[in-house]
Symmetry: C2
Subunit: 151 residues, 2 copies
DNA sequence: TATGGCCTTGGAGCGCACTCCAGGCAAGCG
DNA sequence: CGCTTGCCTGGAGTGCGCTCCAAGGCCATA
């Protein structure tokens, strides 16, 4: 039934809950679902679009994720939070697959992303200021309203 | 021809470039396009979905935006940057239209948004740390690679 | 008077990031 | 053996936020 339900909405479990040591790191898709919060659909979709490295398979053809894959998914999750388009992440994944000679390009991509993140933080802080201003106003007006009601 | 082209990509012009004084504040849709960077399509769409207050019309039925409308669009732009869904902004717009007795609810909505923004900033700073770490690594490895090439 | 520019409308279309479906295989258990 | 559970696949569907289209009105300038 593909594990619908059990949406653990606890926002942020500790980074790596029950990760197994190198050598025995072989997780089924449903374990990865539990670790990452992504759905199995999404994990398979990431693979189809080339966002994942090659994923191991069991002798019956089922996916077996490694610690390294989990690390990659961590990074992808972080980049996703920055609003980076999936296509750009795929590009980065391609560069990684292409080997050492893409170091320079990867470096630039990361730096560009870093600049984006800084800009986004600045935007959000700007928005925060506006929000604080409005909230202050509402608190003020709300107090006046209460007084009026009471009067 | 609906003004396609002339994409002024200057990221952030001063807040209110050539705003007219109260009383003469009556802008055509294309002026608002120039001010906000939104398309005319989007402005009309915002209106259709109830995200805008009532917009004045000229005697021929064309939209005439006021300074107040521009302010509202400013706020909408800021909220958009936080990732707030348009539906939530519509809800806020509805509360404003409903009058003073929705003060409390609006206040709560703003505070919830504020909390979201803070959380998002924290996420981004977390991501920034990861990025910096990786960039440091790439800079290091890149230097080693250069040395190797030179040797 | 005709041409062009700017505006109007309802509704259809698009790109992104998933999300789900149908049909099927392999393993474990009573 | 039959049943359930968990996973597999290619492809279709969904929701959001625009984005565009076709057909037409108003008005200024040539």
């Amino acid at each position: 039934m593909e594990t619908t339900g059990t949406r653990t909405d606890s926002c942020a479990a500790p980074p790596h809950p029950h990760r197994r040591p190198e050598g025995q790191d072989s997780y089924t898709i449903s374990e990865v679902v539990a670790f990452t919060g992504l759905t199995a659909h999404t994990l398979r979709w990431y693979e189809r679009i080339g966002l994942m490295p090659h994923i191991d398979r069991s002798h019956t053809g089922q996916r077996r994720y490694s610690n390294r894959d989990l690390d990659w998914l961590d990074l992808v999750g972080k980049l996703r939070l920055t609003g980076m388009p999936v296509a750009d992440m795929v590009r980065y994944a391609e560069l990684v697959r292409e080997g050492d000679h893409t170091f320079g390009e990867r470096f630039e991509l990361l730096e560009a992303t870093r600049r984006d993140v800084l800009a986004r933080i600045a935007e959000l802080q700007d928005t925060l200021a506006v929000l604080d201003h409005k909230i202050g106003y509402y608190a003020e007006a709300g107090r006046a309203y209460e007084v009026e009601k009471a009067g």
